[in-house]
């Protein structure tokens, strides 16, 4: 037991640094608080280094009697979440300096990341639920952190709807436990897992299993913002501080899909007798999410709301990959690696778009899309960074978004889901209208007033990382694709 502790070392480091920042903040003077982001970055870097050491020493194993799995999948997501948190720390350093409670912000950010890292490695329903609540509760508070009327309203909406989603997840888990008598998704040596017990179960279990599957699917669809569980997204993104919205948009989505892959792909299995059921469930989610997200995004005049609806549509794209896993009928599927790869590219793309919005909105004092007119002349580099991300969100080469979409559509075609790909391509055409409208607005429309917009060094570093990442993955996608395929192979 104790000798396995180093395998969750990255998680423990983040927890300790979160607590440390909270305590140090109490003793600091107001002007010394600007050093706190360095503390958060140091904690994230230490966790990343520890993860590298774990890889080098080949410590991959399932530990704590099958509860937590350190495998290529959880390692991939460890790096992904640490990267997301690091970029968000860079992007929120300026924002947090104006807040009254600074230590709390960094603590909550690190704790949310801790929960996400646990989620990606969890193989037990109880750990999944605890990690999910650690992430969610931190995010509820972060969403309401500004404490003005709108931010508080968004936080309250998020916590009430989120609590209902958690209750639905818990109910689904209770069904699974009721059928199988165990909380383990995958059996350690000589013990029973949920799936093994289900496979040999009596005929009466199918209905209960189906109910559990629908409840888990619905609950996690809330976390990843799939229609019809998307109501909170535009409101929360619009009213929360923009760096927090950026963190929510990629962090909770990646964590949600990671745990969906764990439960449905690793736990239920693609070739079990309910495989086609959950494939159809996610195909349906994908169609309505893409369509509703894109059509609603067309109507938005506020860029944060537009990015909110766009993230719903992107969640629909990722759900295509989940549907493709089981539709292959037990054959080797690109679906799981497609989801993993898409999430990695989505992190760079969406964070980049939000970071550019942070800089521009700070200067303009509003989030109206109309204010982006002439941005190509006022701030050429900033406009270029935003344009790259929007082009990548549309899925046009040579950006990361194109490769990701190609990969996930390819996975669907190989699993005989051609109709789903046709819906996806039609939706891409719709999405091109609202993404590229902003690009043309920035470069074609005249600027209402001149004056340069210069990002702070923190934000410039964050923007540079995301823009370079988006283009680099678009030009040389193979290393990341290989990593994603290795990660997904740990599940299947």
């Amino acid at each position: 037991m104790l000798e396995d502790l180093d395998r969750i070392g990255p998680v423990l480091i983040l927890m300790v640094s979160a607590g440390g920042i909270l305590l140090v903040d109490l003793a600091l003077h107001e002007r010394d608080r600007r050093w706190l982001p360095f503390g958060a970055l140091a904690g994230l870097a230490a966790a990343a280094i520890w993860t590298v050491v774990l890889i080098l020493r080949g410590r991959e194993a399932v530990v704590f009697s099958g509860t937590y799995s350190l495998d290529s999948f959880s390692i991939f997501f460890n790096f992904l979440f640490l990267g997301v948190a690091g970029l968000v720390v860079l992007a929120s350093a300026d924002h947090v300096r104006r807040l009254r409670y600074q230590g709390e912000f960094w603590t909550l950010l690190l704790l949310a990341t801790t929960g996400m890292m646990l989620l990606a490695g969890a193989r037990d329903l109880i750990l999944i639920f605890v990690a999910l609540e650690l992430t969610s509760i931190s995010q509820y508070v972060l969403a309401g952190f500004l404490k003005d009327d709108r931010s508080s309203e968004a936080g309250l909406k998020y916590i009430i709807l989120g609590a209902i989603a958690s209750a639905v997840i818990l109910y689904g888990m209770a069904f699974l436990f009721g059928i199988s008598g165990t909380t383990k998704l995958v059996a350690p040596e000589g013990q029973a897992s949920i799936f093994a017990l289900i496979a040999q179960g009596e005929s009466g279990t199918r209905a209960a299993l189906f109910a559990a599957m629908v409840m888990l699917g619905a609950g996690f669809s809330f976390k990843v913002a799939l229609v019809p569980f998307q109501m909170w997204v535009p409101d929360v993104y619009e009213a929360a501080a923009t760096p927090v919205a950026a963190f929510l948009s990629v962090g909770s989505k990646a964590a949600g899909f990671a745990v969906l892959l764990r439960i449905f792909y690793e736990g239920f299995g693609p070739d079990s007798f309910i495989g086609s059921d959950w494939s159809n469930l996610f195909a349906a989610f994908a169609v309505v999410s893409m369509t509703v997200g894109n059509v609603m995004a067309l109507l938005q005049t506020n860029i944060k709301r537009m990015l909110g609806y766009s993230s719903i549509a992107q969640a629909g794209n990722i759900a295509i990959g989940v549907a493709a896993i089981a539709a292959s009928g037990g054959g080797v599927s690109l679906g799981a690696s497609g989801v993993t790869f898409f999430l990695a590219t989505y992190v760079f793309t969406n964070l980049g778009a939000f970071f550019a919005v942070i800089v521009i909105s700070q200067r303009l004092g509003s989030d109206a899309i109309a204010g982006y007119a002439g941005m190509g002349r006022r701030a050429p580099l900033l406009a270029a960074a935003l344009a790259i991300c929007l082009v990548s969100l549309t899925g046009i080469p040579p950006t990361a978004g194109f490769v990701a979409k190609l990969y996930i559509f390819n996975a669907a075609v190989q699993s005989d889901l051609v109709w789903l790909v046709i819906v996806g391509v039609l939706n891409t055409a719709v999405s091109a209208y609202y993404y590229l409208r902003i690009v043309s607005h920035m470069y074609v429309s005249p600027a209402p007033d001149e004056g340069d917009i210069v990002p702070s060094p923190w934000l410039a570093a964050a923007l540079l990382t995301t823009s370079v990442g988006v283009v680099a993955i678009g030009l040389v996608p193979f290393p990341l694709i290989k990593a994603a395929e290795r990660a997904a192979s740990a599940l299947g």
Binding site: M1, L2, G19, L22, L23, L26, G178, I179, E202, G204, T205
Partner: protein
């Protein structure tokens, strides 16, 4: 498996019937004029642990009570968790001792935080 859920269903039915039955019996006896009905102000006043009622339940409370209540719940739950550990202390040994110390330490961090943020001051 389903039979066991059936037993839980019986319990649910019983739990529903238990509070409903006295109410129904009381209404029935009242309708049959067996139960006398002589209300007076003292009799029909709200029973509140023997204490005279003050105002109604919709009165406003000072919002500061919630932090005190939160801290109280936190530390009472801590005590509840420590009790079974203390009972089985000899069997559990060193590992459980370290875990209990860690548990208390984490809550202690919360206590220091609440203290320094003036959550305990009554302004």
């Amino acid at each position: 498996m389903l039979e066991e859920f059936g037993r839980a269903g019986f319990l649910l039915l019983f739990a529903l019937a238990f509070p409903l039955a006295p109410i129904l019996i009381s209404v029935l006896l009242g309708a049959l004029k067996i139960r006398p009905k002589h209300p007076n102000p003292v009799k029909s006043s709200t029973y509140e642990c023997g204490v005279e009622t003050v105002g109604d339940a919709w009165g406003q409370f000072n919002v500061r009570y919630y932090i005190i209540a939160l801290l109280f719940v936190l530390f009472s739950v801590e005590a509840v968790f420590l009790y079974p550990w203390a009972v089985a202390f000899r069997q559990l040994g060193l590992f459980a001792l370290i875990e209990a110390v860690l548990f208390v330490f984490i809550l202690f961090v919360g206590y220091v935080y609440a203290w320094r943020r003036q959550a305990l001051e009554w302004l």
